[in-house]
Amino acid sequence: MRFGVVRFPGSCDEVDAQLAASRVGEAVLLWHAERDLGRIDVVVVPGGFSYGDYLRPGAIARFAPVMDAIAEFARAGGPVLGICNGFQVLCEAGMLPGALLPNRGLRFVCRQPGVRVESTASPFTAALAVGERLSIPVKHTTGCYWAPEHQLDRLEAENRVVLRYCPGQNPNGSMRDIAGVCNEAGNVMGLMPHPEHAVDQLTGSADGLRLFESVAQALAPVAA
């Protein structure tokens, strides 16, 4: 099991994501200018401020050479996890539906909300149970998930809302309390909470590790 974690100029959480992934497998950094992913089983597009978040979060990063390779990897069914800025990048790239708008409160917010598992359609939640409550931190300025109503209805109908903030704990005003969604095939998932910052009780919670364990488990027969 080999994770590739993208490093854009301005990425901040890539080393943390690498550390988290290395608890369940091997993990390497993928330089943004590379066009070849090498032998990789899972891609993580990490958090941070790629290209300074200038223009719009994710707008410039989506055109990085590495993104073409990631799109191809995803088309072939490879699991891709976009965390925070990575979620924004995947939405900008059209690999996930919807968009991330500025938080309703307009401020950066760093908090540890409860997040409820809504779907096990993605390999990152396949090993979890619907209804489980996870404690995973958020930290962002542009995390208000938005999509047209009809698309939200469709996402819900297709079981593609993967995570939702627990009632009363939505930190950014996202529509229908959505914290994470996946693509039609389920292999590409984006979320605003940072599972890589919740992999050790010592630093607050180990619930985020479950997502890494889940994808490792989902791929185990293939990778073995």
Binding site: L55, R56, A59, I60, F63, E92, G98, A99, L101, P102, N103, R104, G105, L106, C144, W146, G173
Partner: protein
């Protein structure tokens, strides 16, 4: 030539910045403002304006949530 691209949130899209400005104005005595939308201005210096729409749709805006308007310096044609 110079071109300006005005980008603003699509109507119907939540614009918390616009709302914040709208809430702040009455406190300063500007009571007759009915709506505020906050967007951004991108100024470009370029030779060929024909591909501006493509630029806007691919990079300068997110067409899902933003509208744009291209203003060219006088006399120029797209």
């Amino acid at each position: 030539m110079k071109a300006r691209v005005l980008v603003r949130p699509k109507s119907g899209i939540l614009d918390p910045q616009g709302q914040a400005v709208q809430r702040a104005l009455p406190a300063l005595g500007f009571t007759d403002v009915h709506e505020v939308r906050v967007g951004r201005l991108i100024e470009l210096e370029l030779d060929d304006p024909t591909r501006l729409d493509e630029m806007c749709e691919r990079l300068l805006t997110n067409p899902l949530v933003e509208d744009y308007e291209v203003l060219l310096e006088e006399g120029a044609r797209r």
